[in-house]
């Protein structure tokens, strides 16, 4: 070896492995000759030797421990605290995924009514990929803005058409993925802010109804809450639920951004007796919704099913989907035109993946990201001249006004966000949603963890967050010179060469 000062970990480990029994013997002698107190060390080192012997000669699963013994454990210990170290100390403000520190703190500030102005320039690398909004030379005043009402169901003259005053929705998170306290925070906050909350596919919305906010009832592929035991739709249950005052709209979930092409998944760790009852499932195993509705096997039956639900519920009915194949979407729109049946809205869910537990490959690799998907859906609907027959709700990492504004420019009528509202009530992005160990108490049923969520206080945070989002949206609108989000278009965006939206430049309108 060279004369450089290097740490040879293998040598060090071999030395440690020899030193441990030697030290145990030494301490034994000291205990014998000097003071019995040394036997505290003797016993400790006997245990260490025992453990080390097991690592070296007993176990076979970990090659590192088999070669290095107890020192090898250091690697596992360091690795296990790596995520925290990186998050707290080493990653810079724009590095983390899915939400970096800047994005998170913007939500926190909005939720706590703290001024979110920052100084000395943007940290974004916008010369390369960042889409920007084009402002007008002569911005308008807030008093010139039109009210931001969006009415669902007006296109087909639905008797119970629903008008939302603010274009924000708490996106679908089921009771099951969320604990009771979190559901109450969201529902109470939605009521305070006067926005809609989507129930997610978690079955009968018991706590949502208790809080009395306006609700979109989501019907997943397993139809929890409105199912026959065989998983098909129970018309009577749906009718009874739709008749409830708080239920304003019904959303049929075809696919979701976290795992497009796969049904919902609730890990068995999170299934309590109550959830099993509200969903009509058994405890002790993962609840996996089927990948598709059994009523919908092709385009024809899918559109017929939408009509069926519209007729039974007498409410505005929309569909939620993550965009996969644009040709299929063309086909869907063709079929809607043929039957003259349109959902009252389509929620385009970006494949950015939401709170949902999903197989990693699905989360990372399946489905189109929100912006291109949204743009494509809007283009296809416009191309078929049916864009005026329905609304579009956009969802997928739309936690701050910047991305929301881009979504509006790409054709969205309203914004749905789940994680934005989770951050607003204190989510720290521990990414434990599927393990029932959420340290904030949002995605867990552990009462000790839910204790951290003070419902009234957190509901106020939701209201603040929505209030500040609306404030920013209005200011951004004024800057573009548009009087409502409907006037925004792709032309209001500056799209640099490396952006995924670049392919759409000059392709439509």
């Amino acid at each position: 070896m060279t004369g450089k000062l290097v740490v040879n970990l293998h040598k060090l480990a071999r030395f440690t492995n020899l030193a441990l029994p030697f030290l145990a013997g030494l301490f034994f002698l000291a205990g014998l000759r000097i003071s019995f107190y040394f036997h505290f060390l003797t016993v400790s080192f006997l245990f260490l030797n025992f453990l080390n012997a097991f690592y070296l000669f007993g176990q076979r699963g970990h090659s590192l421990l088999r070669n290095f013994g107890i020192l090898g454990q250091g690697r596992y210990i360091l690795e296990s605290i790596g995520p925290e170290l990186r998050q707290y100390l080493y990653l810079n403000d724009t590095e983390e995924r899915p939400f970096n520190r800047n994005e998170r703190s913007e939500v926190y500030r909005k939720a706590q009514n703290i001024n979110s102005a920052s100084s000395f320039g943007s940290q974004k690398d916008f010369d390369a990929t960042e889409v920007k909004v084009r402002h007008a030379m002569f911005p308008i005043r807030k008093s010139q803005l039109k009210p931001s009402d969006v009415t669902f169901g007006e296109e087909r003259g639905c008797p119970n058409a629903y008008t939302m005053k603010r274009p924000f929705i708490i996106s679908a998170m089921s009771f099951g993925s969320l604990g009771e306290s979190a559901v109450r925070c969201f529902a109470r906050g939605a009521k305070q802010a006067g926005i809609l909350m989507n129930t997610g596919e978690g079955g009968y919305p018991k706590y949502h109804l208790e809080e009395g906010c306006d609700l979109i009832f989501q019907m997943g592929t397993a139809k929890f809450g409105v199912r026959h035991p065989d998983g098909s739709l129970d018309d009577d249950k749906l009718k009874a639920l739709a008749a409830k005052d708080s239920i304003k709209m019904i959303e049929i979930k075809f696919s979701q951004g976290a795992k497009p092409g796969k049904g919902g998944l609730l890990p068995k760790e999170k299934i309590t007796d109550e959830i099993a009852a509200l969903r009509g499932v058994t405890k002790g195993e993962d609840v996996i919704s089927p990948p598709s509705h059994r009523e919908c096997t092709d385009l024809e039956s899918a559109v017929r099913f939408i009509r069926h639900v519209q007729r039974i519920s007498e409410l505005p009915v929309g569909i939620k989907m993550a965009m996969g194949n644009a040709v299929e979407f063309h086909g869907l729109v063709d079929e809607m035109k043929r039957q003259d049946v349109f959902p009252d809205w389509i929620t385009i869910d970006g494949s950015e993946g939401g709170t949902g537990a999903a197989p990693k490959a699905f989360m990372d690799r399946v489905g189109l990201p929100l912006f291109p998907a949204l743009k494509r859906a809007d283009d296809i609907l416009t191309e078929h001249e049916v864009r005026n027959r329905l609304k579009i709700i956009a969802s997928g990492k739309l936690v701050g006004p910047g991305r929301q504004m881009i979504a509006f420019c790409l054709g969205a009528d309203a914004i749905a966000s789940a994680r934005g509202h989770m951050l607003a009530i204190g989510c720290i992005q521990a990414m434990q949603c599927g393990n029932n160990t959420c340290p904030i108490g949002i995605t867990t049923h552990d009462p000790d963890l839910q204790r951290g969520l003070e419902v009234d206080l957190k509901a106020q945070r939701i209201a603040n967050y929505v209030q500040n989002l609306e404030h920013d949206l209005e200011e951004l609108l004024c800057a573009t010179g548009c009087r409502s989000v409907q006037e925004l278009s792709f032309e209001h965006l500056y799209v640099p060469k490396d952006s995924t939206l670049n392919t759409f430049i000059g392709s439509s309108h």
Binding site: Y37, H39, F40, T42, V43, F54, G58
Partner: protein, 136 residues
């Protein structure tokens, strides 16, 4: 079958260990002459007597709280290993020392049984055990 018996077995062992360690606490804390003699012999009177007593008390408590049983068993077996070392080196096995020594061995065995039954929850060892199913 095994899974249903082993928790009961573990609790029996825990209670045996707690009873044996617990009853000596009275002698240790009250400064009973046998106890004082014993700790004088190994040169730990009186601090060591109190210290060991407190540690044994902690072990007893940990052994009875479900989430900390493994830690209690580890502490208990460590203390008993120390006691047995004492008997082999200084205290000997004559007279009532034999009885005390045997009690220490029984407690060590009980704690070891608890640790064996709950081996997957032992820190730094459990996960390695779980990953190599060929090992006991």
């Amino acid at each position: 079958m095994k899974t249903r018996i082993s928790p009961i077995l573990s609790w029996i062992a825990q209670i045996i260990a707690v009873i044996i360690m617990g009853q000596t606490l009275f002698f240790k804390f009250s400064g009973a002459p046998e106890s004082v003699d014993l700790f004088t012999e190994i040169g730990m009177e009186p601090e060591g007597r109190i210290l060991i007593g407190i540690l044994e008390l902690i072990a007893c408590i940990l052994l009875l709280i479900p989430s900390s049983i493994t830690y209690g068993a580890m502490l208990g077996s460590g203390l008993m290993a120390g006691a047995i070392i004492g008997h082999f080196t200084t205290l000997g096995w004559e007279g009532d020392r034999l009885e005390l020594g045997i009690l220490a061995i029984v407690t060590l065995a009980a704690c070891s049984l608890v640790l064996f039954i709950r081996r997957y929850t032992i820190p730094f060892l459990g996960s390695a055990l779980q990953d190599s199913p060929s090992e006991p």
